[in-house]
Symmetry: C2
Subunit: 176 residues, 2 copies
DNA sequence: ATAGTGTTTCGATGATTTTCTAATCATTCA
DNA sequence: TGAATGATTAGAAAATCATCGAAACACTAT
């Protein structure tokens, strides 16, 4: 899950930990925190706004001040909860595709063009993900992108057309 | 505590989370993980070594392979444990100094040079922390560093000598 | 209104960190 | 021993991110 990574990134900063520790003792405001940590209000504000967006702190205005306070529930979870990826619900079809892909790709490059038609299509569609739908590409551009995956861009480009994954008109190529 | 921040920094990276999730399922080795994540072995190695240094994973050789495994105990703690600064044991003397410093510094700059001798010394010693012990400084360099704290670097430089915090010989200055 | 105080945004800078390629190292097996 | 395979290191390029000063903004009180 994306938010988990975001939360971890937020916590993995010395200044933000300092701020959280201040707020752990009592609610406070920008200027005061800035003074305690010997940083400028601009910097503190930057961090607080970031944490507010992630729901780690809340803020409310009181006279001159923006009073920031902790959202303590967040910290109850064990670490385990934050690192574990949830919901890997993969059906059989998905699983088969993954198997084919991990068999033919190595470090993101295609090691060999599959001879089996079905597997070849899976591999080609994977490469096709690197093209944007609706965009027009010159032949050089197509080659360039394919080249990231395999030396023989000619064959792959031709097969893309053959499988109806891409279309061409004159020297222009596009997806679908 | 320093290690807590280090641990959080380690966890706050997408690639490392991916690696941890693979290891959560079963022990594995560099090349295999690299293939699964479409990254080079060099990159995976870089991350694993980092995590090993922090005690998050362990490794042992088996034939060709370096088998990496999780150190699962680490993940039991609640988040709260990782953000809370522990052991703020400050004695009276420390407290007094902190009071003086927070009175005269604002955002890391000296707002005014204290007239009281005792307070002046505290403030000067704080600024002195920005110099490295054993290093020699030219006068320009000394001024430059002091200038980060206060306009009047001449007075402060002179006082540094007067209090025996720094010493000078000709145009060279050094700490203590 | 307008002066004063605290907050936020913007643009620039510098530091840190991830990733890669290429080269080197370590281990196994013929 | 040397060929093969996997792991690690070094160095460089690229991306991300914290920080600051200055300017703009919001609220309060005279």
């Amino acid at each position: 899950m994306k938010e988990k990574l975001e939360l971890l990134k937020l916590l993995a900063d010395e200044t933000r930990l300092d701020i959280l520790n201040i707020l752990l003792k009592e609610d406070s405001y920008v200027e005061k925190i800035a003074c305690e940590l010997s940083l400028t209000p601009a910097t503190i504000c930057y961090h607080l706004k970031k944490m507010e967006a992630a729901g780690v702190v809340n803020c409310s205005r009181s006279q001159f001040y923006m009073i920031y306070s902790l959202n303590r529930e967040i910290f109850d979870k064990p670490l385990y909860e934050l690192i574990k990826k949830d919901g890997e619900t993969v059906d059989a079809e998905e699983k088969y595709k993954k198997g084919v892909l991990s068999g033919f790709f190595k470090y993101g490059r295609l090691t060999q063009i599959p001879t089996q038609r079905k597997k070849r299509e899976i591999v080609l569609r994977e490469i096709a993900k690197d093209f944007k739908a609706g965009e027009k590409y010159a032949e050089v551009e197509v080659n360039e992108i394919i080249h990231k995956y395999h030396e023989d861009h000619c064959t792959i480009r031709r097969e893309m057309i053959a499988f109806g994954i891409m279309e061409r008109e004159k020297e222009v190529y596009w997806l679908k």
